[in-house]
């Protein structure tokens, strides 16, 4: 395996993740508890949106990390295709479903947030619509990586898709915003007024870090599982 990166060797990665997982899981739990407490008891209700603004503390971090998650997928794709990084494929396989779950969370919480203001369950708001397309890109990545008999083939095909996807994501976002201005000039989910007051900003940041740690923890754990799966496949192949 030419071009070995420190963590590239699967066994070395597993030793690292075995040590790191308890810490990141613990940190995630603490941050979530603190964040949720602040979200409900520290942050004041918004003068306009009243209590529904509390949905923001889950909706916004989910949006951030699903977009960052897709960029991460593209980075792993480049690592696999350009530097033949052996772990990138497994980490991408591990990360895609987590990204999709974050995007789904963002979509559902977003529709609940918009519900009181528009009386409809789904709002064709620019950000939600872009997130819906991103969700499809995640599904496409997951489906493509599992659509081949050989997992390596699926990993590489999904990596190419992720790279093209990440180039198109900003264009999709722009086109949806452009489309939104055509049909609904009034912009929708203002983040609780123009300047975000610190009493809202701090809980939001805590929740954001909590969600990030959740993403990291899940990816580390799932990558370990993918390594195990690949090892089982290798053993089965070698035994033939």
């Amino acid at each position: 395996m030419a071009g070995m990166h420190a963590l590239a060797n699967p066994a070395r990665f597993q030793r690292f993740s075995a040590r790191a997982l308890p810490w990141s899981a613990g940190l995630t739990a603490i941050l979530l508890l603190v964040g949720l407490y602040m979200a409900f008891f520290v942050a004041p209700p918004d003068y306009q949106q009243k209590e529904t603004v509390r949905i923001m503390f889950v909706h916004v971090p989910a949006a951030w990390w699903s977009m960052a998650g897709y960029a991460f997928l593209a980075g792993l794709g480049a690592a696999l295709l350009v530097w033949k990084h052996p772990l990138a494929a497994l980490m991408a396989r591990a990360a895609a479903p987590v990204g999709a779950a974050f995007a789904a969370t963002c979509l559902i919480t977003g529709s609940f947030w918009g519900r009181p203001m528009w009386g409809t369950w789904w709002v064709w708001d620019a950000r939600l619509t872009s997130m819906l397309v991103l969700f499809f890109l995640f599904l496409g990545h997951i489906a493509l990586s599992r659509a081949f008999d050989s997992p390596e083939r699926g990993d590489k095909a999904a990596a190419i898709l992720a790279l093209v996807g990440v180039i198109n994501l900003p264009i999709i976002k722009f086109s949806v915003d452009w489309w939104n201005t055509l049909h609904q000039p009034a912009s929708v989910m203002k983040l609780g007024g123009t300047t975000i007051h610190s009493s809202i900003l701090i809980p939001l940041l805590v929740m954001a870090v909590a969600f990030f740690m959740l993403f990291v923890t899940l990816v580390l754990m799932r990558t370990e599982t993918e390594i195990g799966r690949r090892r089982l496949e290798m053993a089965a192949l070698a035994a033939e």
Partner: protein, 216 residues
């Protein structure tokens, strides 16, 4: 340094190490006959030489230069015959062969000699879908002959050929060798060439621990 030199080649396909430590040297006018059981990696080696299947390890040089460094020039020097004949059902034999010429050399030479050699003149204007398997294989061989490429990579060229066609194949191969051409041919014992050296891929099969170290 032989014209075509391979050292310590290793190849992995479908997650399995197929062969390792494989080397050979071919001078102009020489042919390599790949033998070995099914799955021993004959096709994989041919595809590796054609830069289709990635090379896990090892070096491959043509006229002293590593082929991966100038893939375009290397591809120009190759004629390829895969399992499938690449004969389009909707194009006639003549159109397929002329197209292959254009794609390879960017110009058109006369097809008649090759058509005659493989007894295709009568069906030259018949669409590919009406050809039998043997006829399609002969058309694919005619394409190789027309390529004028110095190196021929042939995957079981004699498979499915009747006696006269096999004779035409051997004649074409001998001519190619005599004119200083090289060939790597995978075969099941149906190719008999004086200047050909057999190589059994079974000898380069990976040992048990070679497999294990891959995914320690």
């Amino acid at each position: 340094m032989p014209a075509l030199n391979a050292e310590n080649l290793a190849c992995r396909r479908g997650g399995r190490l197929v062969f390792t430590g494989l080397g050979f040297g071919l001078e102009q006018g020489e042919a390599l006959l790949l033998t070995g059981r099914n799955g021993s990696g004959k096709s994989s080696l041919l595809r590796l030489l054609a830069l289709m299947t990635p090379r896990l390890r090892g070096s491959l040089t043509w006229t002293g230069i590593e082929v991966a460094e100038q893939p375009e020039a290397w591809r120009l020097a190759l004629a390829w015959l895969g399992h499938a004949d690449a004969i389009k059902p909707d194009l006639t034999v003549r159109e397929s062969l002329a197209g292959a010429q254009l794609l390879r050399k960017g110009r058109l030479d006369s097809l008649d000699h090759a058509l005659g050699r493989f007894d295709l003149t009568a069906i030259a204007d018949r669409p590919g879908r009406y050809l039998s398997a043997g006829q399609r294989r002969r058309a694919a061989l005619a394409r190789v002959m027309l390529s004028g490429a110095p190196i021929w990579l042939l995957d079981e060229p004699a498979a499915g050929l009747d006696e006269p066609s096999r004779g035409a194949l051997h004649l074409t191969l001998r001519e190619h060798m005599k004119s200083g051409g090289l060939a790597v041919i995978s075969t099941h014992g149906d190719i008999h060439l004086p200047s050909a050296r057999p190589i059994d891929l079974g000898e380069f099969a990976p040992s048990a621990d070679a497999l294990a170290e891959d995914w320690s």
